[in-house]
């Protein structure tokens, strides 16, 4: 598996370069919003990837609570951390798009507010993992992650449940989209998903390595105590 990493990294970078070319050059300019609409290609792709990573975190948290496996816990930490990075991108690129289109950087609209709440939940998850030294930290974090996941469907369905300023989805809602735009959208979606999963894998390996170092340090201090007696 370790040998596959550089190959997958090269493939992902190539796919990302192709996706960027599609988003910035090939996709036609949208009639009403103009060039700024191109933010959509990586804003939506980042939101999807963040959602996928938070879902992985949810599954890993449930499995951890059932089996107490350290490697599953490592996957939960990795997916939450990389998910926060992608969610940060969503919260940064959204206002940059909103300023020229809506005339404001931010509004306390339901979709925007719930996305911010989702980000805050996972940031608190990471802070809990970072600063709590209790042996129960992974259990508390897993429970928090499960509650955090409840916000995800609210974020997704908020544009249907509430009157919001956030744009409605174009696809699957009676709207039509230019085939070149659709192609650019899906290429970016796939590229960002591959990139997110690859970074998550790297973070997972780092967490496993940290567990090994902790184990070695614990063993060393045990041997020191024994030799001093």
């Amino acid at each position: 598996m370790k040998r596959a990493f550089p190959i997958l990294a090269i493939l992902t970078v190539t796919l990302l370069a192709y996706a960027t070319y599609q988003a910035l050059v090939v996709a036609p300019t949208e009639r009403t919003m103009g060039e700024v609409q191109r933010i959509f290609y990586y804003h939506v792709a980042s939101a999807w990837t963040a959602g996928l990573l938070f879902f992985i975190n949810f599954v890993a948290s449930v499995v951890y609570l059932a089996r107490r496996n350290q490697k599953v816990d490592a996957l939960a930490v990795a997916s939450a951390e990389v998910g926060v990075v992608f969610c940060t991108i969503v919260l940064v690129t959204g206002p940059i798009w909103a300023r020229p289109v809506w005339g404001i950087w931010w509004t306390w609209d339901m979709r925007l507010t719930l996305t911010l709440v989702l980000w805050l939940i996972y940031v608190s998850y990471l802070l809990l993992r970072r600063f709590s030294s209790s042996g129960q930290t992974p259990v508390m974090a897993a429970v928090l992650a499960i509650f955090g996941t409840l916000d995800m469907p609210l974020v997704y369905f908020s544009i249907w449940f509430f009157r919001t300023q956030h744009p409605q989805p174009v696809m699957g809602n009676g709207g039509s989209i230019d085939p070149h735009m659709l192609h650019a959208f899906f290429v970016n979606l796939i590229a960002f998903t591959c990139f997110g999963l690859l970074v998550c894998w790297a973070r997972y390996r780092l967490e496993v390595l940290r567990l090994e170092v902790d184990e070695m340090q614990a063993l060393e201090s045990l041997l020191e105590v024994r030799s001093s007696r």
């Binding site: 980042s46 990075v85 991108i89 940064v92 970074v199 790297a202 780092l206 170092v213 070695m216």
Partner: protein
């Protein structure tokens, strides 16, 4: 157009900063492993 570039630069700046932090943490762990192996 400047908003588009701002969003694009912000996206990759966040990603590269995070990848940089991963590389730093990885190097620190490798160093710790080396030290532990030298001591034993």
């Amino acid at each position: 157009m400047s908003y588009l570039y701002a969003a694009y630069i912000a996206t990759w700046l966040i990603h590269l900063t995070y990848i940089g932090s991963l590389v730093r943490r990885y190097n620190r762990l490798r160093r710790e492993i080396g030290e532990l192996k030298n001591r034993s």
